[in-house]
């Protein structure tokens, strides 16, 4: 078969190994290949990283719409003092509201590290010694579409491969009986849409499996995961005949390894049904665990995420969406809406981190919590009672936990009003470079040759934030 040899022109030993793989297997997908050779074989399922990884898995808890940094992780007492004053300096859009708007939420020091966290996030606050808060994030544009694309793919315009697809390309899957990259979202409505988890020009084996979690029954979660008109034993009987016929066909074709690969993929799929049925079934969790996460669409997705990570899924993204496709986009009535969102987002995220830790998974699972940007420290409208906060891209916060991150630390800072990242600014490209680094990949070496040039997640940018690495 005619293979995609041009894709693997990187210079690292990793690439040479891949090139060899591709030559040997002539067109097999890695996942299929893993099926062919089986675990523990010479090649195995996963690829070698560039260097020793701190984390093996990534879970990205994405707060669609952009949570306010100054009401979560970046306390700004000066806002109270200057409340009502109009912001000065260069603004993306002229302020038309009532000026600086202090957070109505109290901040307190937590954990041994004494990091200040808003009262709206009591559960994440409990885990703060395992977390690193980056307070100096910035992105290029304060509009949802480009900012979402930048956070997910590094590029403002569609369509480029997503962070998850790059990771899968670089590292391969851990468990070939499950997809390597799974996207969980409670509602089908999501701004931008599938371009956020696209494999784009990366081969199809690095694509995400997108799962709607509005209905948690397993056969609703996963398409085609079981046959409604045959049970397992009946299907086995059917597959036994298929196998015999395929083997007969194969024997007349000199054992063509590609045909062999198809046979193995069929067997893997058969076994995947049972494994996925179990892994995707959160009703198997004890009531106490389910209680800890909460019983909301986001909470159930977080619990499912833990089961998937435990089952060997490399990358899981959980989106915080609802009937409102970007709930955190609190342009109006911010002070009332924000704590409600936190109550849900905080409880599940805090439970997930605690749960991973208790199971010994946190040390090699990187958890990221945040949105596409932050929100303005000043009010968006003249209506003081229903005041909201607008999009804000020049300074916002991101939480990272586990996976080789230095816990109990704060990195970077915004100015006294939370307007602009001033100390150790971290661009989205830097965040990507750091995430790849934690997973053992050099963002400058993880390239894919397409349309005549070598593409990277970080384009020509990105700097690993070494100070947050344990």
């Amino acid at each position: 078969m005619w293979t995609d040899s041009s894709s693997f022109r990187g210079a690292s030993p990793l690439m040479n190994r891949r090139q060899m793989l591709h030559k040997m297997c002539a067109g097999f997908g890695m996942l299929g290949l893993a099926g062919v050779l089986g675990p523990g074989s010479l090649l195995g399922a996963s690829h070698l990283p560039h260097f020793a990884p701190k984390a093996k898995r990534l879970v990205f808890l994405f707060m669609n719409g952009g949570p306010s940094h100054i009401d979560t992780f970046d306390p700004k007492p000066a806002l109270a003092k200057y409340a009502g004053q109009q912001p000065d300096g260069e603004l993306y859009k002229k302020s038309k509201g009532t000026g600086y708007m202090p957070s109505p939420f109290a901040f307190a020091k937590h954990g041994g590290s004494g990091i200040e966290v808003s009262e709206t996030l009591p559960n994440l606050a409990k885990m703060i010694d395992d977390c690193c808060i980056i307070r100096s994030m910035h992105t290029d544009v304060p509009n949802h579409e480009p900012a979402l694309l930048q956070m997910h793919t590094g590029n403002l315009q569609p369509v480029r491969p997503s962070l998850g697809s790059w990771l899968l390309y670089g590292l391969g899957t851990i468990n070939q009986n499950l997809p390597g990259y799974i996207v969980l979202r409670p509602s089908s409505k999501i701004v931008v849409g599938p371009a956020l988890w696209s494999n784009s020009f990366l081969p199809a084996e690095y694509q995400a499996a997108s799962v709607l979690t509005s209905d948690m029954s397993v056969d609703k979660l996963l398409a085609n995961i079981h046959n409604p008109r045959q049970n397992e034993a009946q299907q086995r009987e059917q597959l036994d005949l298929l196998n015999q016929l395929n083997r007969h066909h194969l024997a007349q074709r000199d054992g063509d390894p590609e045909l062999e690969g198809q046979i193995r993929a069929m067997e893997t799929a058969f076994h995947m049904q049972r494994e996925a049925m179990e892994t995707f079934d959160i009703s198997r969790e004890p009531a106490s665990v389910r209680e800890a996460y909460g019983d909301t669409p986001f909470a159930r997705s977080c619990l499912l995420a833990r089961r998937l990570l435990e089952g060997g899924v490399r990358v899981v993204s959980v989106y915080y969406t609802s009937a409102d496709n970007q709930p955190w986009d609190t342009h109006a009535d911010h002070n009332a809406r924000h704590p409600k969102l936190c109550a849900d987002g905080d409880r599940a995220a805090g439970a997930l981190i605690a749960d991973l830790k208790q199971r010994g998974l946190l040390e090699d699972t990187l958890v990221v919590w945040g949105g596409e940007f932050g929100r303005t420290p000043y009010a968006e409208s003249k209506d003081e009672k229903k005041a909201g906060r607008d999009h804000h891209h020049t300074g916002f916060s991101m939480l990272l936990a586990g996976g080789g991150v230095r816990g109990g630390t704060v990195y970077g800072a915004t100015d006294e009003f939370g307007m602009k990242a001033t100390e150790n600014p971290v661009h989205v490209h830097d965040l990507h470079a750091t995430i790849l680094h934690l997973l053992g990949l050099d963002h400058e070496k993880l390239t894919y040759r397409y349309a005549g040039r070598d593409f990277r997640l970080t384009d020509v940018f990105g700097k690993v934030v070494r100070d947050i690495i344990a």
């Binding site: 078969m1 005619w2 995609d4 040899s5 041009s6 002539a26 997908g29 996942l31 299929g32 290949l33 509009n143 579409e145 480009p146 315009q157 569609p158 009986n177 997809p179 931008v192 849409g193 696209s198 494999n199 784009s200 199809a204 084996e205 694509q207 499996a209 398409a223 085609n224 995961i225 046959n227 409604p228 045959q230 009946q234 299907q235 009987e237 059917q238 005949l241 298929l242 015999q244 016929l245 395929n246 066909h249 194969l250 074709r253 000199d254 590609e258 045909l259 198809q262 993929a265 069929m266 799929a269 058969f270 995947m272 049904q273 040759r449 349309a451 005549g452 040039r453 700097k463 070494r466």
Partner: protein, 709 residues
């Protein structure tokens, strides 16, 4: 590249002349070699990390993206260049990665800056920060095989094996390696192969029977003629062409529920493509109409739909801003050049091409053509819809095409940045392909079309011949079909490719003639099971001493399932329908192609992303594909109809099994296959599916269903 050459030549000169120790000499003796050794790799003609280049004085004075000057003549202490070389921050120090300069080297730089940072005038031929001028196309560049005109040759092969001229090339190549071709495949295998390759469908049992019993000497010719004359030929060819044209019916993202950038009538372009292949529209005309149907006098109104090639291009978020439009123009340049010329010209948007003699000026000369062209929704009658009309409100005969816009030349956007303007570049064709004269006819699309679809163009015919070849051998002659440049692959048999390309043009650019020669060749008629000596000597089958076994594309496989179940609907010119619609019985080429969310079946079975030109398909084998084949509503539905169809063919199961094999695999079952089937069918069945449904499903799921020998 050339700049480095100039620099090294100058250096040689300087050493020979042995300058006295004046600033110029100090620069040449110490500073330039030092910069060249440590800096130019990343900050020179090829790369400008951080936007900085250190091989031009102006650039040094201007600085990189930070716009802080790299040097302040006379003030080494305040110069960034010195600060960075002295830095103790591992992330900050230059050169990076521990390749720190020696103190003496830093001292040389300090001396040079303090003495006024002398830079010889001859070393400053470049415009500041305008890498576009870094490269000129040389005769040496033109010597590259792909830029040379293809030539026809007459290879010698003694023997009776060849049936077509192309066979002489293949036979001769095999003999060079001491090999002979593999014997002819069976008639059963041939008709299955050639029918899938030409129409994308399996042959019917009647067609197989007719061919097996046709004792005339031209039985193969008759099959190929019948297939070339069938309307399914155009559908099959469109499946090859549409992904090249990044055919899509919406946009990668949507703001709210806004559909104004969607293409509800994209099917008009697809129908035009199918029809063009069916009427064997000469390929040069085929290209010209897609680029400039509105600019070619005498073009039939129905041919305006051809402009969908450009008009269905992606429209990006915040369009009408210059930087966004620049991205859209890049899409047009990329799609046109990779599809039609097999060149990756879009690489040269930000810098001269790293591998090919394609300059940033070439890029902007082409981008100017598209900057002078407007995307437009226009009815057959010529009525232009307003830009904000929603998809649902467009006239039913609205085509999504292009028309002339305000004619403009572009300034080079330095490093792709639209706010940094370099030289103004007149619209013209690519220099290395003869693009000397500026375009003068409106946007220049017609002139561009003529330059591409020209016998003088060394690439156009080769590129399409290579794509057609790949369709019949599951392996192209140039393994990078959209990149014939230096970073692409060399042809595995250049003489063969060239001869086919020349004769393709001589035969009036007829795709059908090319297909006829290929399908009737002895090379194509070989078996896929070669003797071990052949596979060992040529594991990747570069010399074509056997046929490649190949997996069906998603279009072919789904269409075959529908066809063998007796369910395939016949609907030429059809509107698109979603593949997930249970009652969608149209061929897969009529599936709705979304840029926003590609259908799951298409995505899982390797249909490429519709946002960009797809050079070729990846071929992946995943358990997710198999879950679809095991459990999906689609497979259950057609297992049911196939079972019913088979049961209707005869009374006896043994005859029904024979019917199944003829229908699905174009052959009769052997004894073992028949026995296995009959034993399975007699087993007591406890499942909700009938035993015949279970059997029909496993046949649809089999490898023989998925592969062609």
């Amino acid at each position: 590249m050339n700049l480095t050459h100039i620099a090294s030549c100058l250096l040689t000169l300087c050493i020979v002349k042995a300058f006295a120790e004046d600033p110029a000499a100090q620069f040449e003796r110490e500073v330039r070699p030092l910069l060249k050794q440590h800096c130019f790799e990343c900050h020179g003609p090829d790369k400008q990390k951080g936007g900085l280049r250190l091989d031009q004085k102006e650039a040094l004075l201007h600085g990189g993206d930070s716009e802080e000057p790299a040097i302040l003549p006379g003030k080494s202490g305040a110069s960034l260049l010195i600060k960075r070389t002295l830095s103790h921050d591992a992330d900050d120090v230059m050169p990076p990665k521990g390749k720190r300069l020696e103190p003496a080297e830093i001292a040389s730089l300090q001396t040079w800056i303090d003495a006024g940072a002398h830079w010889p005038a001859s070393g400053n031929a470049e415009l500041p920060g305008a890498p576009a001028r870094g490269m000129t196309v040389t005769d040496h560049d033109r010597q590259f095989w792909a830029f040379q005109a293809p030539r026809t040759t007459d290879p010698v092969y003694e023997g009776t094996w060849p049936r077509q001229k192309l066979d002489y090339f293949v036979g001769a190549r095999l003999r060079e390696h001491g090999l002979e071709p593999t014997g002819e495949t069976s008639r059963n295998a041939f008709i299955r192969r050639v029918t899938f390759d030409i129409t994308g469908l399996p042959p019917t049992p009647d067609e197989v029977d007719h061919f097996l019993n046709d004792k005339s000497s031209n039985a193969h010719e008759r099959v190929v003629e019948r297939l070339l004359g069938s309307p399914q030929f155009g559908e099959r060819m469109a499946s090859m062409w549409l992904p090249l044209a990044r055919f899509g019916e919406d946009q990668a993202h949507q703001v709210g529920d806004d559909t104004k950038f969607f293409y509800p009538n994209a099917h008009l372009y697809r129908a035009w493509v199918i029809d063009a292949f069916n009427r064997d529209l000469p390929y040069d005309q085929f290209l010209k109409l897609q680029l400039a149907a509105d600019r070619i006098p005498g073009t039939a109104p129905a041919d305006q739909a051809a402009l969908g090639f450009l008009g269905l291009g992606p429209k990006y978020y915040n369009r009408n801003q210059l930087e966004v439009m620049a991205d859209e123009w890049e899409d047009r340049v990329d799609t046109v050049t990779r599809t039609m010329l097999g060149l990756t010209v879009a690489c040269a948007r930000c810098h001269d091409h790293k591998f090919d003699p394609i300059t940033t000026a070439d890029y902007h000369a082409l981008a100017g053509v598209f900057a002078s062209t407007q995307m437009v929704n226009k009815t057959l009658g010529g009525l232009v819809e307003k830009e904000n009309v929603k998809a649902e409100e467009m006239q039913p005969d609205t085509m999504h095409i292009v028309q002339e816009g305000e004619v403009q030349n572009l300034n080079v956007f330095i490093r792709g940045n639209v706010t940094r303007k370099g030289a103004l570049i007149p619209r013209r064709f690519i220099e290395v392909l003869g693009g000397e004269t500026s375009f003068a006819d409106g946007s220049g699309r017609r002139e561009l079309a003529e330059a591409i679809a020209s016998r003088a163009n060394p690439l156009t015919a080769r590129v399409i011949v290579n794509r057609i070849w790949a369709q019949f051998f599951a392996q192209p002659l140039v393994s990078t079909p959209s990149n014939f440049g230096h970073s692409g692959a060399l042809p595995s048999n250049r003489e063969l490719l060239d001869d086919l390309a020349v004769r393709f043009m001589e035969h009036g650019w007829s795709i059908k003639s090319l297909v006829r020669e290929i399908a009737l060749s002895s090379t194509y008629r070989q078996g896929s099971g070669a003797p071990p000596v052949v596979t060992a000597a040529d594991p990747s089958n570069e010399w074509l001493g056997r046929m490649n076994r190949r997996r069906l594309t998603v279009e072919q496989w789904r269409d075959a399932v529908l066809a063998v179940s007796g369910e395939l609907a016949d609907a030429p010119g059809a509107k698109s329908r979603d593949l997930d619609e249970a009652t969608n019985r149209l061929r897969t080429v009529y599936a709705r192609i979304s840029r926003l969310k590609l259908n799951d079946i298409l995505m899982q079975f390797d249909y490429p992303d519709a946002n960009v030109h797809a050079e070729k398909r990846s071929v992946t084998t995943t358990p997710m594909q198999k879950l679809f084949v095991l459990n999906s509503p689609f497979i259950q539905r057609y297992a049911g109809t196939l079972a019913a169809r088979l049961q209707g063919t005869a009374e006896m199961d043994t005859d029904r099994v024979t019917a199944a094999y003829l229908l699905l695999f174009s052959r009769e079952p052997d004894v073992e296959e028949r026995d296995l089937a009959l034993r399975f069918l007699l087993k007591p069945n406890t499942a909700e599916m009938t035993q015949w449904e279970r059997y029909a499903q496993l046949l649809l799921a089999s490898n023989e269903m998925l592969y062609v020998d």
